[in-house]
Amino acid sequence: MTEVDRRVVPTRTRVWRAESSSVLVATVVLVLLIGVLRPAFLTFGQLKDVLNGSVYVALLAAGMAFLLAMREIDLSVGAMFGLSLISTALLMRDGFDPWLSCLAGIALGALLGLANALVVRHIAIPAFVATLATMQLYRGLAVALGDGQQVTGLPLEHSFFSVLGGDFLGLPVSVWILVVVTAGLTVVLRWTPFGYRVRSIGSNPDAAAFSGISIPRTRLYVLVLVGAVAGLAGVLGLAFFTSGDPNIGVGFELQAIAAAVIGGTPLRGGVATVVGAVFGAVLLGVVSSGLVYFSIPANWSSFATGLVVLLAVGVDSALRRRQRARESMLGL
């Protein structure tokens, strides 16, 4: 290969591979499999709904990928999502302009992320423990602020709901926003110095510190970013669901971590793929929606879900293994 070849050809392939084609393939395989067994699943409307339903966990997973890349975990994402959603709803109910409230909701998410970062820094505890506490704190606030009630009575005719909750070019606006955020975060992770810092820290924290990368500062930015993304997810959730429930997003933290890991971001840090994380969330969405077509009795649904998740990650892993076999081997 000439020098030029070497530069041009693999770039695209590599970016594609790095961005975790395997989970995408696994998702497609699963969709087709369900489609063959239950053709009704393969309608545009159903697939659109799966995408739409995956948006919130997908956004949280995208943020989580950044954290995992630097060997951190944020357990409060589900609660930040819920609290942002509820707070935005309360603002609207109290007469604030919905678009302003929407901005406030995102800003609140960022602020909650900042609070996480400050706790991590000043109490000097791992983000995992800090966010375990703030998860309850934020969830508690979501309950307390709304007085334990769902928040309803929002100005549903306002453009906020029709735009963010509506469609654009045949796809839900929130899916478009997910696409844009995914692309943006991918660019940030891969092509900005900040993204390099994040991955450097996860790859070798000592070397990162040695190179003058400030771990606390980078962590702060990432936690704020994750909070802002959770806030965005909350606002989109509100636009779609049109009311606020204090329990919304319970358990999302595990789903988001799972989506990121299934998508190809390992817990050991250093590498991450935002696209993979998003597809991981879609994969989980496909599993749960697809199963509905098989009329599983309620008492067996959790069992079946577990089985299919196993199947899906098995396919993913088999695809991945072919890639990996080439690379790794115990050797000097």
Partner: protein, 491 residues
């Protein structure tokens, strides 16, 4: 005018004094050797200069202005670049990303990969590092990673370039190329600091020499021309080097035999016999197959044809089986595969037999500690404190721990891959003496080394590999014959 001066630098870690008033004076346009035993404080001094570590006291001046860098990144922006002894690289990022930490060129808010490439490619080419800049760093060999670390320092076009044992992982070719580059930099008025335990290299390259001993400067910027190797050794050790004598090898013990061993892409039809009592050197260019022999004997790689017979009669069917049969594998890549840096020395030394190979009984830390202490003493680890976390030892002493961990089992086949990487002169002689003692006890000792002097100094016989085949067995050899054979495939 001096390029950089360090005066009266002190630094201690808890009870350990690493530097006790060290001085260093650098002139632009010269290559300055910084020498000293393992643990003398060289790396610590370098860390202080480059802002990686804050000194307890002392002053730094860069071209007559007093400075104190907060980080290596800051130092780099002031033209002080460092190639640190322990690679500070990011295995998950690609080569290109590793070259510009905290100083990536940026265009419109994004990384300017094109600019990075434009700056990196010439440097990589100059270093002869033939890898795709987009390859994952972790997929590179230790030598290649070492070159990346050097390239990282070169891309900033430094005024002061400090290299902490840059050649310890390099083969002869790469070392030569590096030395050429340093000469060019010297001509461009760069002040180069060069740390090495290979004195021949130093004498060939350097203009001035500073020697540290126990954290103090004992020889301060002396012109090389005024010194000979004996003077330097004396300054480093405070005494003369014990002369190692190579006696005639007695081939006594049971033998290690490879018959017609082939491994796809690595070895083809290799037949080799190593007797107990002799030290057999394996030489070759990177990828020529000499390290694959170690892997095969250690059971890390299964040959597709041919057989391997261990001295006890078994074959190494797996790594564990090989260890159980008495094989030991000492690697020079200590930080990646040799040590648990966060664990005390004694746990590292106990890792193989008492831990990995043991059954279910209880382990008593007491005996493990005392065994570890006597082994650490045997390999000359300093400070002789087995409670110390391995990561806090100086580089050479870490390497000794790896050796100790494998000697613990009294192996019948001792395989070594660059075992004295970063070990100082005196200690290296001690290690060689140790290998000799192991051989004399009737054990098989097989030594791979990128350092030809080491092969010459330690081995009874050198087997040279070329493209996966044995191309020569030398019983009478010097650096030049080995080098020629390695490169040409024939005598």
């Amino acid at each position: 005018m001096h390029a950089l001066t360090a005066r009266g630098i002190t630094k201690s870690y808890g009870g350990v004094t690493a530097l006790a008033g060290a001085d260093l004076t650098l002139r632009p346009g010269s290559v300055h050797a910084l020498l000293g035993e393992n643990g003398a404080g060289k790396s610590t001094l370098i860390k202080v200069i480059t802002g990686a570590v804050a000194p307890d006291s002392g002053t730094l001046r860069l071209a007559d202005t007093e400075v104190a860098f907060a980080s290596t990144a800051q130092a780099a922006t002031h033209g002080v670049a460092v190639v640190s002894q322990e690679l500070n690289l990011f295995p998950d990022l690609d080569v290109l990303a590793n070259l510009f930490p905290m100083r990536e060129p940026i265009r419109r808010g994004l990384l300017d990969r094109r600019e990075m490439l434009a700056r990196a490619v010439p440097v990589l080419k100059q270093l002869g590092l033939d890898v795709d800049p987009r390859a994952r760093l972790g997929s590179l060999s230790l030598a290649q990673r070492q070159l990346v670390e050097i390239a990282k320092a070169l891309v900033v076009e430094p005024k002061v370039l400090i290299l902490d044992e840059p050649t310890s992982a390099l083969d002869t070719d790469s070392s030569e190329r590096l030395l050429c580059i340093l000469r060019v930099l010297r001509d461009r008025q760069v002040a180069v600091v060069f740390v090495s335990h290979i004195l021949e290299e130093v004498m060939n390259l350097c203009d001035e020499i500073t020697v540290l001993r126990e954290g103090r400067t004992v020889l301060d910027a002396q012109p090389r021309s005024s010194l000979d190797i004996g003077d330097i050794v004396h300054a480093m050790l405070g005494q003369d080097l014990p002369t190692a004598s190579r006696g005639a090898a007695r081939r006594v013990g049971p033998r290690l035999e490879l018959r017609g061993v082939s491994v796809p892409d690595r070895l083809s039809d290799v037949t080799l016999t190593c007797s107990g009592g002799e030290i057999v050197g394996l030489a070759g260019l990177a990828g020529s197959g000499h390290t694959a022999v170690l892997e095969v004997v250690a059971g890390l790689r299964r040959p597709v044809s041919g057989s391997v017979e261990l001295p006890g009669g078994g074959t190494p069917s797996s790594f564990r089986a090989a260890i159980a049969a008495g094989v030991a594998l000492v690697s020079g890549d200590r930080r990646r595969i040799g040590l648990m840096l966060d664990k005390p020395v004694w746990e590292n030394i106990a890792q193989v037999h008492p831990v990995a190979m043991a059954g279910g009984r209880l382990l008593h830390p007491g005996p493990l500690r005392s065994t570890a202490t006597s082994l650490a003493e045997r390999v000359g680890m300093r400070p002789l404190d087995v409670e110390m976390r391995a990561g806090l030892l100086s580089g050479g002493n870490q390497q000794k721990v790896v050796l100790a961990k494998w000697l613990a089992a009294d192996p019948s086949v001792l395989l070594l891959d660059d075992p004295t990487r970063g070990v100082d002169l005196g200690a290296r002689a001690e290690v060689h003496a140790l290998l000799r003692a192991v051989a004399d006890a009737g054990r098989v000792v097989v030594l791979c080394s990128t350092d030809l002097d080491e092969l010459v100094a330690a081995c009874d016989r050198v087997v040279v590999f070329h493209k996966g085949k044995v191309c020569a067995e030398l019983t009478d050899f010097d650096q030049h014959t080995i080098l020629r054979t390695m490169n040409t495939g024939s005598l």
